[in-house]
């Protein structure tokens, strides 16, 4: 993504509101321990029928849309499950931007963190794009300019907003962990202050696990429940 200024290409319309991440990347493709092979699972139930044959009428299966770079989606695109696999799958499929009236919160963060542009336009602007795509017989070509923050089609041009931080991440692909690690000492000092005032939070995961191990898991739990029901 380094140095990206424009995302340009064929756009496909998937005009479904609340297209959740279960649909974008179904469960059977979440079994890996790496990120590979997710292009295959993208929008599986929409792209393929029950027997696994491509549905010829689905936009992404039509030959003219083979080079799709941009998706135009419905409201609340990517809602539901936090699975980042949805974003990885879109990118592996060749999608560089999704344009929609709004996105699921976690999906949007995931997109930013991977350099996928989740571009929100006003509902009427998205409707205008959908209408334009429907009018033209050939696939709609869309161009997104990250420099002047505009979306252009043959018939329209819309401005969009992008937080400065996100624009930088898209264009330069910053190493966020590296940046935060520069604050390591501040974090450590913060934690010490935080725990001094709230000692019950230090090592909470490890300490609870140790208590359960020491006291005998099953017995302890009965006691826990008995106590809580008094």
């Amino acid at each position: 993504m380094s140095g990206t200024r424009t995302i340009e290409g064929i756009a496909a319309v998937i005009d479904i509101d609340n297209l959740d991440t279960d649909q974008i990347m179904p469960k059977q493709f979440l079994r890996g321990i790496d990120k590979s092979g997710l292009d295959k699972g993208l929008l599986w139930d929409l792209r393929f029928d029950g027997a696994g044959s491509p549905r010829p009428d689905f936009v992404l299966n039509r030959p003219e849309w083979a080079q799709t770079r941009i998706l135009i989606g419905g409201a609340n695109f990517g809602c539901g499950s936090s699975r980042e696999h949805a974003v990885w799958g879109l990118q592996q499929f060749g999608i560089g931007a999704v344009i929609a009236p709004g996105f699921g919160e976690i999906f949007q963060s995931n997109a930013v963190n991977n350099g996928l542009l989740a571009l929100a336009l006003a509902p009427q602007e998205v409707r205008a794009l959908v209408a334009e795509a429907a009018r033209s017989s050939a696939p709609l070509r869309v161009s997104v300019d990250l420099g002047d923050l505009t979306v252009r089609t043959p018939e329209s041009c819309f401005a969009f907003h992008l937080a400065a931080r996100h624009r930088q991440m898209l264009q330069e692909g910053i190493d966020m962990i590296g940046a935060t690690l520069k604050l390591q000492q501040e974090i450590a000092a913060f934690a010490e202050r935080h725990w001094a005032a709230r000692p019950w939070l230090r090592d909470v995961g490890r300490r609870v696990r140790q208590r359960l191990d020491q006291t005998g898991a099953a017995a302890t739990n009965d006691e826990i429940i008995a106590r809580s029901e008094r």
């Binding site: 079994r31 609340n76 974003v87 939070l201």
Partner: protein, 464 residues
């Protein structure tokens, strides 16, 4: 200092540094992990030669892929899933992270085991690679779901670059009528404000009806706030919440902690970006009819679209669910009943279902499953005799896990099968390709199991 909401107080107390107008570096008190959204984070850490910053503030469990058949020891047969479980164990071992592994007697769904063992404490910030982390708002802890890149960030730094949310307050007064539960309440609220009605907001629930809820019922409520798009849910900790935590966390110096926790409330003049108010007393049992949790109606209601033509989204959902506009859901035959999940897989949920089932039988041709949320819930239900009630009625009594909530293990509904489910998502294909999900409360699901149909639990005679 000007007046602040509970949300703002928690965020401020965890702000390591202010990054820009919108973003802060937020400290994470507890980071929970599962087997399928963490592997790539650990791999990324390793590739960059980084270590886990504060292993003691982390915890992991195998929950989503695990088979729930009643066999011991549990063996994950599917090779890729088995690798995920082994990989999680290896990652935890390598980094010194506490784990509830496949055959741990306390294994279970992350959002069930963390609070039941006293890990969730008021005022905490909890993050997890799972959207239902909002559950912890029930105890006055700010929980929210994160993606895998963020999991890696939290592992490496114990912090997150966090964009502050807008604030919403939802007040619910009145009291819940007989036969209704927190599940019905949250389904109703989602149906009113919509699947994106709380998007960008952290929701604080307040009012008499909320304070009257048990902690377990509050979990159900906050768990599903994310289905309205919320970035978090909160209920100010009260007596009920505090005694729940203290009973489960004997290591806490309770005087100091309570003094701290009792300040965890919104100032009386705190302002909210949006406010809603509902009256619980007119609530009826709710059932979802469509493929988004906001597509929900009261049991005595009708599917939408009766006047004029349904819009495209409604038509698509009705079609997927094999329904038509303006019809009642009552009497609709179901083939599967699923009781479980992080929404409704706790002991009170199982008690409510068992109360309906006692003395009855699962209807002919219905497959009914109960999957307890955790090993502790399973054991308690067995000790209380609930398991026997389920088994005698013809239910399958399973081992803990996510199971048919997302059907990532081998519990799956077939195409066209209609499932009465206590879970949180009725998305297309969520419980199996072509499977139809109707979200409802445990008591309503139990009523569906014994009648074979979607019915109003309030009309079932109470058996002695």
């Amino acid at each position: 200092m000007s007046s602040r909401s509970l949300y703002r107080k928690i965020v401020d107390a965890h702000t390591v540094s202010v990054l820009d107008e919108q973003h802060v570096l937020l400290f994470c008190d507890l980071h929970l992990m599962n087997e399928y959204t963490s592997p790539q984070a650990f791999a990324g850490l390793r590739a960059a030669g980084r270590s886990v910053a504060m292993p003691g503030q982390n915890l992991a469990t195998v929950s989503h892929i695990i088979p729930t058949h009643a066999v011991s020891p549990r063996v994950i047969r599917e090779p890729a899933s088995s690798l995920q479980a082994r990989n999680l164990a290896a990652n935890c071992e390598r980094h010194g992270i506490a784990l509830f592994d496949t055959n741990d007697p306390l294994q279970g769904i992350e959002h069930v085991i963390a609070p039941e063992h006293g890990m969730i404490r008021p005022g905490m910030v909890v993050m997890c690679g799972d959207s239902h982390t909002t559950t912890y708002g029930a105890l006055g802890a700010l929980g929210f779901g994160i993606g895998t890149s963020e999991v890696e960030h939290v592992l490496a730094t114990q912090t997150l670059v966090y964009r502050r949310a807008q604030e919403m307050r939802v007040r619910v007064d009145g009291s819940l009528p007989q036969g209704t539960t927190a599940k019905d309440l949250i389904l109703m609220i989602i149906s009113r404000i919509g699947a994106q009605g709380a998007r960008g907001f952290v929701v604080e629930f307040c009012g008499d009806a909320i304070l009257a809820l048990s902690v377990e019922a509050r979990f159900t409520l906050c768990n599903m706030a994310v289905e309205a798009g919320a970035r978090g849910a909160l209920i100010a900790p009260d007596e009920t919440a505090v005694s729940y935590v203290l009973a489960r966390a004997p290591d806490i110096d309770s005087a100091a902690a309570c003094a701290h926790w009792m300040q965890l409330r919104s100032d009386h003049d705190a302002s909210f970006d949006r406010e809603y108010s509902f009256d619980a007393s007119s609530l009826a049992p709710q059932v979802s009819w469509g493929t988004s949790p906001d597509q929900t109606i009261p049991i005595d209601g009708l599917t939408p679209g009766s006047v004029g033509h349904p819009d495209a989204g409604t038509a698509r959902a009705l079609d997927y669910c094999g329904l038509s506009p303006g019809m009642s859901l009552q009497g609709l035959p179901v083939q599967i009943v699923f009781i479980g999940s992080c929404t409704n897989g706790r002991i009170e949920d199982l008690r409510a279902a068992a109360a309906v089932i006692r003395g009855r039988r699962v209807a002919h041709g219905v497959r009914a499953l109960v999957v307890p949320g955790s090993g502790a819930v399973q054991k308690q239900a067995e000790d209380e005799g609930l398991a026997r009630v389920f088994v005698e009625a013809g239910f399958e009594w399973r081992r803990p896990g996510c199971s048919m909530c997302l059907a990532m293990n081998d519990d799956l509904a077939e195409p066209g099968e209609r499932c009465a489910s206590t879970t949180n998502r009725n998305f297309e294909g969520r419980q199996g390709r072509g499977a139809i999900t109707h979200l409802m409360s445990p008591a309503m699901a139990a009523a569906a199991a014994v009648t074979g149909r979607i019915v109003d639990v309030r009309t079932l005679e109470v058996l002695p």
